[in-house]
Homo-oligomer: 256 residues x 2
């Protein structure tokens, strides 16, 4: 039986990154696309419970391309796996995101969230991002994604673990190599732009810049700066095991 | 100088859980409330970048209670710390959520997200939930939160780690004790209710039930079932360290 890959993203079903990805993954497997109908960046792992969802067939070049869902990336994957696909997919690939998802950005990422939802549903999952906000060529990143997808289809992933992949936005010959990485600690120096509306009421617009505080080459943040493809295995079990042990000395039993 | 606690939630600034919490925390510290203006459940760690935010003073019993923000829990905490509070808070407390935030639900939780954002901003943070969806008495959970907050204000927390607290919704004398726990693996058996709108177009509504597959008393899920208050130290570094090592054997360097 043919392998079946569910593809989603957070840039929306019309974004160029998902089209490049679908084109390459179709060479190795049957593909079903279930993706948000519009951009859903920075939605984190939101799911929609208080509103209904719709899934509208979306055409590209006169052919059925996939289902456009009026929800979040996690909604799209959940609806795809639980209802739209008639069989359980062998793999979920989310992307290719236009912009990096490294360090603290993983928390806010809709791209990673779609892959996380795949993992929650027990399916090996990969999130892929191209590390530029400028106009981008997704061709190499898509070809690399298909090669990595083939490996994961063969080897599987441990339950609860997904792969978060970032591909430097440079020409293929400038890619330095591939590094297995961990999530960096770099974060945002964010501020709010304070403005006044026409009625002179104050409002706020989030702005800021990502500041690289990481220096360790084993982090995703530094790997991509050095033109390496970064592959970070991440998990959704958030337990801080060391702190579980440390807190046993706190004597919190007395607080009851 | 008085200690200063920022309080937020995901049930919205008018919810009874945040009022009970504020009342108790005010006994040990100066409190500023910055919370969503309406219910924001299951928003995950979403932040608002594409729209402006407003912060409207919210009154309760004729007095200023806090700022109501038309955004997510993470937005509220970010805006509070980066702009509204004139000093850096010593602690962020999020809650008290009406409903448990254990096992897989931690991923989707807006309550946990508010505390995570506090942690990202470098401030010790606690998320508190009361484990019932029925009508609830937040009094004991609020008193416990204040006792725990006092301990955290004194001891601090490691960078990147927050506490996710669940309080069983039983009378205080039936609370069995306090357990330091890890995130359980229980998840949702979710389905989509397929319906037709008046124009006979299909739509989907997410439904389902949480299924307890955990059996280990050291998980949050089982602790609350046994009427223990569960305190799980969680972290936002998602790296699966064991898998980083294992993947070095995969030979992915050849994929370039």
């Amino acid at each position: 039986m043919a392998l079946h890959v569910l593809i989603s993203n957070d840039d929306g079903i019309a974004a160029p990154g998902i089209h490049a990805l679908v084109k390459e993954i179709r060479k190795i497997a049957k593909v079903t696309v279930v993706a948000p109908d519009r951009q859903q960046s920075a939605v984190g792992h939101a799911i929609t419970m208080n509103y209904p969802l719709r899934a509208i067939p979306y055409e590209r070049d006169g052919e059925f391309f996939g289902y456009a869902v009026d929800g979040t990336p996690a909604d799209a994957v959940k609806l795809g796996v639980r209802y739209l696909l008639k069989e359980r997919p062998d793999l979920v690939v989310s992307g290719i995101n236009h912009g990096s998802n490294t360090a603290i950005n993983i928390l806010y990422s809709g791209t990673v969230s779609a892959a996380t939802e795949g993992t929650v549903l027990g399916i090996p999952s990969i999130a892929v991002s191209l590390t530029t906000y400028d106009e981008a060529d997704f061709t190499y990143a898509a070809k690399f994604s298909a090669r990595l997808a083939a490996v994961v289809l063969e080897r599987g992933l441990p339950a609860g673990t997904l792969l978060n992949v970032n591909v430097p936005a440079v020409s293929p010959e400038r890619i330095a190599g591939i590094r297995i990485t961990r999530q960096g600690k770099s974060t945002w120096e964010d501020t709010f732009d304070v403005r006044r509306d026409p009625a002179n009421r104050e409002y706020f617009w989030l702005t800021g810049r990502m500041v690289t505080t990481d220096t360790d080459p084993s982090t995703d943040q530094i790997a991509i700066k050095e033109n390496y493809i970064s592959i970070s295995p991440i998990r959704y079990d958030l337990t801080d095991a060391a702190m579980v042990e440390a807190m046993k000395e706190w004597g919190v039993g007395d607080l009851k």
